[in-house]
Symmetry: C2
Subunit: 214 residues, 2 copies
């Protein structure tokens, strides 16, 4: 009787241990499975991002629905904007070309909100008409550019050192609305870390104290 | 005595079960952790890929070390080539610009080996001097191109429907040797699948039976 009881208790304890081990393993697996993984495919149909940007500028303000004739639903551009607007501490941007007014507005908005924004861009492109770089600099955002014969051809951004947004897409209206493009959004540290390292390497390399004046 | 023995056996069985559960969970976790995840950063220093391509053309042939003055070690370009050369069944390529002789040679080599190669490219770029597209078509490889006002600006390849190679890098010597570029290599199905879908969508869209002659 006592033996049966002890055996039963030990068996129950063993099963409980097994269940706990499985539970822990499952929790670890789900934590691994949790990081954001998304692919956005462009062109993005013309759509209105006014409400999204207004809400981000004044969080908690009464939602003012926009009545313009454009569609107001979700689209690749609005998803890209939403991901950027999650920034709380830092936004590191490394872009060959940046001329999209909506994306420029989102970046200035984050800067005003106190997010530390740093931008690296290509020297050949930044002076072209329509570039947002001038407006971003006027807003007080730090911008650095290459001084090399090759292009600074990256197209990525890192939000809070945690989320990587990378792909073929330059942040231009032409690319967003007319080109076939891809953007991969990931929180997997194996991808985020090398891009963070590359950003810091380029940021230091392009420090104005290293500029040469010929 | 019998009770103690039974309790001990049950405890041992419980612990064995717990260990087995942990082992299974760990194996599952390691299988999840297994998929290739790599980031390549360019420019790639000039280096010789002759031995790599010769070995791939004649697997098992006696290795002929190359004696040219270039470095022969591993570099981002050689890693990109190695990943492509793992193709056994299919290689789907979607590239704005393709002019790198080494990458062109690797793709023709895979085609000769019986790998089903499909290429989608941009109509505006493919006719430019130095483009590999003509040589690839001459080799009997299927190539389709856009007929749109926007650019077909993707830069990705999918090996055996399993490995995605994507980033900012066009397959040109200029980009490989001079630009700051990134290439992300992944076997995570969450990333591979949307790119596979995009490839099939574009491949059908650019079917020559849909070409319009103005």
């Amino acid at each position: 009787g006592g033996g049966m009881w002890a055996a039963g208790a030990a068996r129950r304890a063993g099963l409980a241990l097994a269940a706990a081990a499985l539970g822990l393993a499952l929790a670890a697996w789900r934590r691994r499975a949790r990081p954001l993984r998304e692919v956005l495919v462009f062109p993005s149909p013309p759509s209105c991002t006014e409400a999204l940007l207004a809400e981000a500028a004044e969080p908690g303000a009464a939602a003012r629905p926009c009545h313009c004739p454009l569609p107001h639903g979700d689209c690749p551009l609005s998803r890209l904007l939403r991901h950027l607007l999650t920034a709380r501490r830092s936004l590191d941007i490394c872009l060959f070309a940046f001329s999209s007014p909506q994306l420029g507005r989102a970046v200035r908005l984050l800067h005003r909100r106190g997010v530390r924004v740093r931008i690296v861009t290509d020297a050949q492109y930044m002076g072209l008409q329509g570039s947002q770089i001038g407006l971003l600099r006027q807003a007080g955002i730090q911008v650095r550019h290459d001084q090399e014969s090759g292009y600074m051809h990256h197209k990525f951004a890192i939000v809070d050192g945690r989320m990587l947004i990378t792909g073929s897409l330059n942040w231009t209206t032409q690319a967003i609305q007319n080109n076939r493009e891809n953007v991969l959004v990931t929180e997997d540290v194996e991808y985020v870390k090398p891009f963070l390292d590359e950003f810091e390497r380029i940021w230091e390399k392009y420090n104005p104290i290293n500029y040469k004046f010929f």
